[in-house]
Symmetry: D3
Subunit: 134 residues, 6 copies
């Protein structure tokens, strides 16, 4: 299996509901350093998993919708705790939708898997990984 | 698959038996920066894989039994080479036992996998990964 | 010159005032991975710059006053942009006050310099450094 | 599953053919920080996945054939774009051949998987992973 | 002293002249992960050392003149070994010229120092640092 | 000022004397990832601060005298706590002696400063820095 990973980041505010979160129930924020890993069984004719420039641009585009925002006010996340693992899934879904819509060109059709990892500090990270439907 | 990872570290002394280890047969030591990755197929009602505070506390607790010790004198490791990969397994087993015993609360029941990685330097690490029995 | 550095982190929300900040004028947030470097010309009788356990505890204590908070609502920062560099200075000041007040014990008297660095992402950090008055 | 990983690096020049590569069609170069992960289901009698000294030596040996070279002039890569993901595969193949030939000693027989990751910058990496035939 | 640092990277080919360089006399290449640190004694009215967006853009602009190139063919470097430390100086000079020319706006006038660090691998880096003339 | 830094590591056992060390009074150990920074005001005729291959070899040589050892049994450290900061100084002294003795060739004469940093974990490091006498 081949994998290509690109990295970018996003800075957001949010709060959590539920006693399990302790002081994180207060409005606070995070920098997420985000890794998007694209998987492919065979390289394409150019010898790549994905056009890495297009992959960087797609990740920046998807993160741009979240960047410098208070996620508590985003309709898409109403009633949800925007935990690191939840956001990994949310970003995964958006990336997968764009891949399906052709954002990575014809090469995107060959992708078979996607993993999104959010590093929230030097001591914690979370990820979501799943196959991409063909 | 969702994953949440927490990081901590432990500082130990030990020696190895076997010519393959060369100078590492002498008493020496290591800092292991330890990553514990908890896996879950679905997020729980709070939107998490695991209570991250409880995960950090559990890892610190398990590492506390090894920290600042000479592993050559630990009964639990008698007759074993406490290599990085062996210790990854030993820490995995202890974490898994605690998860089964409820150290992560009811949420621990939903965990389906665990990976433990020990970084021994900037040029070497080892890990053990296995499913967690339900 | 001897230096000992300890690392911890803090997660906050805030917004900036001023057109130069562009979208960062909106409420957003950050994880700051914080390095506190303590400097001493000579080691003390125990062979240390500072009791590293006490240094870790002091840094956690100072960051605890900021952690999981919206800095826009902190009286101490009223009318100020809590930029990364400003916060490096704010944390420096608080650490220096505690050192002067004996938080690091008698050993703190020998410290001659302090540097505080805040890593806001994988592509940006800021710091404040100054001598500590004897 | 047990994994042991060793890290080294290689510095090469190359160019790419294909409009998708934009300015990378010009002769340029890269440092690849290379991780080789060796997998084994059970530890051997010494308690290791692989003799880590032998693993470091093998990786250095394989990278030595590429180091400080212009890959455009390497016969082995004639007509191929030596992208990061392609090189991960090329290095994987060479490592696997050496393992099969006994470069890691008898212990190499127990290896069941190999992953090679090339970090090309702080914001991009690529890997190839596959089982090792017994 | 306040410092703000921004990070980017550049991928180049080159060769060295002189027996001291051994195999690096052959055409090869490198990824340089580049840190540019801007220093200021006091924060400006906005509470910053420098507009961090402008600093990122300036660094990208300066690196753009080198990126995806064979430095052996650059007139600016004719007759010079483009070692990591030499390139740190070359990039320092270009950044300093741009600061003087107003690329960072009026705020650039307050800068008093600049450091440029090039990370060439996980085991080596080089830097050049000097005061900025007012 | 120009700086070139090379990185290596060492794995040792030791114990500390003094109540301030708490559980670290027990025999334990550490991996130290060691950075040696060599400073020079002007580049030499080859365009370097130091022959980087020679610098790597010198650092490995100096660390080789400590590697895989119990520092409590080293005569050179009798009666001393081999803290991270003390070891930074000890390694500094040995590197400086070798530079003075010509281990880096004639080029070593131009060096004006040296800094040694020991990373003991992902949350702590220590260093010693001083000018090199001409």
């Amino acid at each position: 299996m081949f994998t290509v990973c690109v990295r970018d980041h996003v800075m957001i505010a949010h709060s959590f509901r539920g006693e399990v979160f302790g002081p994180a129930q207060r409005l606070h924020g995070a920098t997420y350093v985000v890794d998007a890993e694209f998987r492919r069984r065979q390289l394409d004719a150019d010898g790549v998993v994905v056009d890495i420039g297009a992959a960087h641009a797609l990740l920046k585009d998807v993160l741009g919708d979240l960047n410098f925002r208070n996620l508590d006010e985003e309709e898409a996340f109403a009633g949800r705790n925007t935990t690191t693992e939840f956001l990994a899934y949310a970003i995964w879904t958006r990336l997968a939708d764009h891949v399906r819509s052709g954002a990575l060109g014809a090469g995107g059709d060959g992708l078979c898997g996607l993993k999104v990892t959010l590093h929230e500090s030097h001591v914690a990270w979370a990820s979501f990984e799943a196959d991409l439907p063909r």
